[in-house]
Symmetry: C2
Amino acid sequence: MTESCHEAAVSAWVQLVRVEQALLARVEGDLKAHGFPPLTWYDVLLELSRAEEGRLRPVELERRLLLPQSNTSRLVDRMERDGLVRREACPSDGRGQWVALTQDGRALRERMWPVYRDAIGAHVGAKLDKAEAATLARLLAKLL
Amino acid sequence: MTESCHEAAVSAWVQLVRVEQALLARVEGDLKAHGFPPLTWYDVLLELSRAEEGRLRPVELERRLLLPQSNTSRLVDRMERDGLVRREACPSDGRGQWVALTQDGRALRERMWPVYRDAIGAHVGAKLDKAEAATLARLLAKLL
DNA sequence: TCAAGTTTGATGCAGTTGCATGGATGCGGT
DNA sequence: ACCGCATCCATGCAACTGCATCAAACTTGA
């Protein structure tokens, strides 16, 4: 018997999963329609662009993006192959490395943002007013 | 210029994606820890158990679960291999077929539900009171 | 200073995904 | 009855994912 699992919690959960799935597909679709890579790439570019000197250790990327390690390793592979990031040796830790944003990477993120922002506007902003969006964000934050 | 994309919308969107990802991983982890299959399988079993005569056309499953067609086809393959569902010919449409719940499938869903419900309780119910959960569900529903 | 244990990142592997295609059946108009 | 087109489902393929493992480098403690 789990008192903490009321009916409202179940429907919130179901909605959460379904809505996220549906909206993610739409937003990803908008990006792809403009010839852009998946959202995960944007997340990496954004984290790097915010980081000091535009670079992060892979471990730090994993923590911020909640990605499994093996996944991150290969994601960086692909982005490096596309010239968006560059691996650099890490002098202070021989095991580690830096993943640094390149000019191309920075430029791509800047081109992606308007499209991404419009997608968010169309799929979220247009459906909720500011107060509702703020409430939604606050309630979601309580779940973590 | 997208007026509909206010700051609140952006943070609601970011929270939505992150929270869903994190909670989904936890709930899936709980299921896996009990030796159960992924949540998608539960969704299929649930839809079938609610359907008339415990069976649905693959096309109908796709619509309800928002899965791509090829995905559904192979998902049914795996579940059939595990004896949870059974494909049946569809007399009224030679192209189509029925996907029918087996006794094993029905039993599995019934064993999964308590674990699933407890997971929802722990990861959602415990963090929000009823009113908050109801509000969350309502706001999420507005996004579709 | 060295052994034991931990952290970092890459990789082999099997399973899963989406995309594009194909074959079969159904349907609508002539 | 037929032709053209749509629908249903399966499958080859390439990409991506998570898991387990590995080697190299760091850290700790005696």
